[in-house]
Amino acid sequence: MSSQCISCGSCGMPLIKASDFSGGDVTHKLCAWCGDSEDHLKVTMEEVVEDCAQGFIEKQGLDGEAARKMALKYVTSLPAWKGNENEL
């Protein structure tokens, strides 16, 4: 079973087209929203967690607090924020 799906190392969004990648560069690890043209983070973890939680509420109808908890666990499992669970 392969697991080659490329996704943003900060928010987990799938990276499909060149414009999805930071700086439009397909060798980058971040999406255009999370990374600048040099592939450095331009968002805080709090912003990513909030955005992710908002997506869970809009798309799957989660309770606000449950969505935030889920988003925190998910975002801190991604490479850019791994191990930062207690930082918020």
Binding site: M1, Q4, C5, I57, K59, Q60, K73
Partner: protein, 192 residues
């Protein structure tokens, strides 16, 4: 990679691949360490070198299944797709993985937190695509009701597949009706 490391990697892969096969037959929760070691042809001791607990393998397996289903979905889906085509692609990838997906659905609430999260993230990915295909400006209901209704219906039929379709894939039997029903619902929810 030296030979020992290579052997270790091969054993780990063997355990994992056999586990996926066994999970698809018996489910995650009914599969014992005995089943896993027998199917991989290894000792209990060897199993624990690779996975500290039975749950660790379940979590790893479900994370990989979730990724693999979504990756396959991304292969088939495209941004310009109509709602009908997105629904059709969703059913196709679930049908391809129906045996193991059945256990994600029926055992989901009883699985370890990390595994539940991986299932949730898979659904979140699918919902993202469905949202693009439904013009929520024109609907009376918020988007998540559409997604949850679609998923709820699909999962109900899967959970009770022995009653709805004892002889063949429940998705194969109902795919056209599921799509027709959902499109009727979506249309009826649009503003005049």
């Amino acid at each position: 990679m030296n030979k020992r490391k290579q052997q270790k990697e091969q054993t780990r892969k063997k355990i994992f691949d056999n586990a996926l096969h066994t999970y698809a037959q018996k489910g995650f929760l009914n599969t014992s360490i005995d089943d896993l070691t027998k199917s991989a042809g290894i000792s209990h001791g060897n199993f624990f070198i690779h996975y500290a607990k039975r749950e660790a393998l379940i979590i790893k397996a479900i994370e990989e299944i979730g990724k693999s289903i979504y990756e396959r979905f991304l292969e088939l889906a495209s941004e310009e797709m109509s709602l009908e085509n997105i629904l059709s692609v969703h059913l196709e990838v679930i049908q391809e993985n129906e045996a193991i997906y059945y256990y994600l659905v029926t055992e989901g609430p009883f699985l370890p937190e990390e595994a539940r999260r991986a299932i949730f993230i898979l659904q979140n990915g699918i919902s993202h695509w469905m949202k693009k295909a439904i013009d929520t400006e024109k609907t009376k209901l918020e988007f998540h009701y559409f997604f949850n209704m679609w998923l709820g219906n699909l999962h109900y039929y899967l959970q009770n597949r022995d009653m709805f379709s004892p002889d063949k894939s429940v998705i194969e039997k109902y795919r056209d009706d599921f799509i027709k029903m959902f499109k009727l619902f979506e249309r009826s929810e649009k503003h005049e």
